[in-house]
Subunit: 320 residues, 2 copies
């Protein structure tokens, strides 16, 4: 579609399991407006999308731009989804949502071309275009929140995999006979150890009365021995999974986002040491591992980035 | 260098730990000649390279082409190596070889432009250009012999990683507290379970008097219980590692080469089932897993493929 200018600002929407976000992002990556509400996705697609679109309208108003200046809409959501057709297939974080044609519904609502993308893939694009990865040729983005996902930039381009759902970075094995992984059903995935859900669960299994990964992190800092044990295992698992990812992709940079990344150097300090000493040379020696500078805005920034990505890709194809 | 025509036949050399191979390969992938000798690499770089170059001369003679028709030389060797400078750094399969400028030495010998590449990366290029992967956009090649290596084709292009040593596919974790990996020093890599070396070693640890992976495979078929146990663990480890690789790369196709792949369906039959049931959808459902059709010629075919790859890349850059 030619309506999506490569330079005009984009309305970006992010459909998460716990929150909906909307913002207007311009071609320099500046976030002109940013709004978040609880998603209440259990109420089903129709009321939730109504609220998302309403949030989008408000984000457009608060951006200080006229509606006519906004050329396109980008939407990020957890997969599996069909990016080509703009359809959410059956995302596990949105129970009961099956085959929802979000792209079409948003096009009708906003009368703008709409791009739908896996949220972790989009976040990787956002970090590469305007975040920690700007200027890199090979980088990996890993998001650690209720689940673990990610995306890769390879030779300067977003890698989308044979089927467009990007790399499933949370589903690299750490321990082949380890904890069952809720996300995919097999045993011992990275996600089964380092997701926020798993960190809290493993603490509870050791008898701790802690509800979240953040509480486990604080208890570990305070010297609680069982919490420290859970935290150390989390560090070991993340370092192991990242080492495999670094060995396979040889990236210059790994960017870690998602709620669990807010623990910052408590997590990344020891992980960085372990990856550097364990990964193959020269990749292991030189890889940088940093916390996402985009933070909670990465979903919206990513959803905008993929609109610009697609637009450039189309332009490049038309020029061939 | 402009001397390397994109269409003329190539002299391809393969420096392995146990054998040296040479052949002439034309632009259609036809192997015009193919010669193999034991490498005897422990005698050091000078006598070994003399024998390799002599083998190359003979391969050229036996190809039925005149020397003038051969435009370039491709060399594959296990890493780490510096492909850009044509230098072998310190390949573990060639003990005592350090910083050997193979590219320069071969250029002097043959008076042709020389391309040096990691052998597993080159093999991936060969399988993509003329083997099982012809026509695919995303494929992975895994070679299982004394060690485990591989390469990936991503969006139709050979992936070389940030530092040009390609993906280290043997060094994805299977079991984070598992067997030490000789190749990289950390614990529980895929290579530590499925390499030919490891298969034989694990059988010996169980008291079996078997010297090679092939003997273990035969004993397992014959119903020897300890050999079957080793074989089953090998299947489980390979399926686990491949599932991680499939989840990360989402390839259409996985091609398995190297000596251990000669066990064919005894290995790949159960591995295929496990990967299909364990990997994320849709990648897991659709991925094909096949034995390399190029067999022992993959080293030479791969070394030729990278000459054509580089030549096309140069041509594409010059046309930009």
């Amino acid at each position: 579609m030619s309506g999506a200018s490569g330079e005009a600002p984009v309305l970006a929407l992010d459909i998460g399991g716990t929150k909906l976000a909307a913002g207007v992002v311009d071609a320099q990556g500046a976030v002109r407006s940013f709004l978040v509400v609880p998603s209440e996705a259990e109420r089903g697609p129709d009321p939730t999308l109504d609220r998302l679109f309403e949030l989008g309208r408000r984000a457009a108003e608060e951006s200080g731009l006229s509606w006519a200046e906004i050329a396109a809409v980008g939407i990020g959501c957890g997969g599996p989804l069909d990016a080509e057709r703009g359809v959410l297939l059956a995302p596990p974080h949105l129970p009961g949502w099956r085959d929802v044609p979000v792209g079409l519904l948003a096009e009708r609502e906003f009368e703008r071309p709409v791009t739908l993308e896996n949220d972790a893939t989009a976040a990787a694009a956002g970090e590469h275009r305007w975040g920690a990865g700007a200027g890199t040729r090979n980088m990996v983005y890993l998001t650690i929140s209720t689940g673990v996902g990610g995306g890769a930039i390879i030779d300067g381009r977003l890698y989308r995999g044979a089927h467009g759902n990007g790399g499933e970075l949370g589903h690299v094995t750490v321990d082949w006979r380890g904890r069952p992984c809720r996300g995919c059903g097999r045993d011992g995935c990275l996600e089964a150890y380092v997701s926020g859900t798993s960190i809290a669960e493993r603490a509870q299994e050791l008898g701790l009365d802690l509800a979240t990964a953040e509480e486990v992190a604080h208890a570990a800092v305070a010297g609680e021995p069982m919490a420290s044990r859970v935290w150390d295992e989390t560090v070991e698992a993340l370092a192991c999974g990242l080492t495999s990812i670094v060995n396979l992709f040889e990236p210059e940079l790994v960017v870690i986002g998602g709620g669990v990344s807010r623990s910052g150097e408590q997590l990344l300090g020891p992980v960085r040491e372990l990856v550097r000493s364990s990964a193959m040379r020269p990749a292991g020696e030189s890889v940088e591992i940093v916390v996402s500078p985009l933070g909670e805005r990465v979903g919206v920034v990513g959803a905008a980035a993929i609109v610009y990505d697609r637009s450039e890709l189309r332009a490049a194809r038309e020029n061939v």
